[in-house]
Amino acid sequence: MREGQADPGLYDYTPYRGRKPFAWPDGKKVAVWVSPNLEFYELDPPANPHRKSWAKPHPDVVGYSHRDHANRVSHWRMADVMTKHGFPGSVSLSVALCQHHPRVVEDANQRGWEFFSHGIYNTRYSYGMDEAHERAIIEDSIRTVRDATGQTIKGWLAPALTHTPRTLDLIAEYGLTYTCDLYHDDQPMPVNTASGRLISMPYSLEVNDHYGFFVYNMSPREYADTLIRQYERLAAEPSGTVMCIPLHSYLIGQPHRIGPFEEVLRHIAADDRAWITRSGDIADHWIKTVGDAA
């Protein structure tokens, strides 16, 4: 990015109107990817001067144990529903989960899910990191995921959405092809980087389960209805859109929420306009068919 300038220069302005219609494989209208955040939060993380980790003095019992629900109960509940309806996951991974709870990572890998990095821990923020620090967490991410799963990560979602001005240049330099940190479009778009080739992968804050339940205070059924409306609209537009459903199993896998959520997956799976896929497959396809032609 152009550090210190009012326009960070992340991408070019490309209006939605007038874009060439574009279809996903088999003529599908909307690429749907589900993104479970598989995370590990530390009980007593070191302080980062730019952002507080827990709201309360450590131990923040509710904050920590709510998130730990994922790794004891709700991961499997959520994953079973996804598998049942044919949705693979594209995992936003706190890579230290590979050390703490390798069986959770193994479960996701065995289901054919893709992994991308969401930092080492969701309690270690990039703010204040120098270039050597950032290279270290990128290299750690690539190595840790490869050792644990055999996969080479293609994407990045900054830990707790904390960035530095050099993050995008660095991940592109390391050969990653997509970032989930930019929210300017419903289609993949080229990102300006110093080297390499990076695209923005539409993720979503707005229909993220965290926003649904804790920013918009939706009931489980209201959130399910929101996802269906989001899907219906994106599937009806001509441009070849992307719909991401970002999840945290400790939220969506709660017993009062998972039932209504299953109806969303049932709805999308029964509709023939969806390419139900993974983020890396979307990136590969887009780069091959659109990016190379541009």
Binding site: P49, Q99, G128, P255
Partner: protein, 306 residues
């Protein structure tokens, strides 16, 4: 500001947790829990009986529901008192009508100030568990250990004095603990706490003073979270609890082993005239299901241990 060089060191990056309070196990891989009568779903109502001094303290933090205006905050003082005078009796009647037993997480101050209320709760067959001294009795790191130890002892002593029985369980205000709390509870002979929300069945915590069971009391399913924080209606709350009950019952059948649904109720929230009817419907609906077992925390723990 640059970071301390140790920010990229991870001394507790290892298999298992980054602490030693409990060990990891996925719920579905544990030996199945069998509730009495082979019931699929244990439903555990927990009622908070709380007294908020009109002069709040903020050390270590101000309790949720506490005073908000400049002194004297009649508005919140009396609204909370409504729960202990009127609301709780609506709850007791609703429980009696549906034939269900609950755990009452009770401040010591309630036992000291309103002994007839505590006697009514006990006479109805409900369980009393400790819930600190009063709503100024919050716990978090920074509270000196001897003060925390004294707070725990005072809470249990007052309830024992009022009821003749020492409670077996503990619930911290706002579920907030210090690093010492599990050890201090075990040291005080407490059998269970219900502060950690990371599971849906009881599990064992280990401390230097011995073991302590945690029975997860899901904050996401509480009336405070759904009605006060998220501002859903009482009918939506009921719909959410029934969706949860349906899911858990089906999961119990599919995966084998009982499941648990905690219902955390606050008299000044759920027992208002316009809300209580929804709760009555919920209790009667669940009580009519042949696969539901209403139980107190101690009954759940004893059954789980057996």
């Amino acid at each position: 500001m640059s970071l301390d060089p140790t920010y990229l060191e991870y001394p507790r990056r290892r298999e298992g947790y980054d602490h030693d309070l409990y060990t990891w196990s996925p719920m579905r891989e544990r030996p199945p829990v069998a509730w009495p009568g082979g019931k699929a779903l244990a439903v555990w109502p927990v009622v908070s009986l709380e007294w908020f001094p009109i002069i709040p303290t903020d050390k270590p933090f101000r309790a949720p529901g506490h005073m908000q205006t400049a002194y004297p905050d009649y508005r919140h003082y009396t609204s909370r008192e409504y729960g202990s005078r009127v609301g709780v009796y609506r709850l007791l009647d609703a429980f009696a009508k549906a034939g269900v037993k609950a755990s009452f997480a009770t401040n010591a101050a309630i036992a000291e100030r309103y002994p007839s209320l505590v006697a009514d709760v006990v006479a109805a067959g409900h369980e009393i568990i400790a819930h600190s001294t009063d709503m100024n009795g919050t716990i978090a790191s920074g509270l000196p250990e001897d003060e925390e130890r004294a707070l725990i002892a005072k809470s249990f002593d007052a309830l024992e004095k009022a009821t003749g029985t020492r409670p077996r369980g503990w619930h911290s205000i706002a579920r907030s603990q210090s690093f010492a709390t599990p050890r201090l509870l075990a040291e005080a002979g407490v059998e269970y706490c219900c502060d950690w929300v990371n599971d849906e069945l009881p599990y064992v915590m280990t401390t230097e003073a011995g073991e302590l069971v945690n029975i997860p009391l899901n904050h996401e399913l509480s009336d405070r979270q759904i009605i006060t924080v998220q501002q859903h209606s009482a009918d939506s709350y009921v719909e959410q609890m029934l969706d949860a009950a349906d899911w858990l019952t089906a999961e119990a059948a599919r995966e084998g082993g009982g499941r648990m649904l905690p219902l955390q109720l606050t008299p000044y929230i759920m027992a208002l005239p316009y809300r209580i009817g929804s709760l009555e419907t919920l209790l009667e609906t669940l009580a009519a299901r042949p696969d539901v077992w209403f139980a107190t925390g101690s009954e759940i723990m004893d059954s789980w241990k057996a």
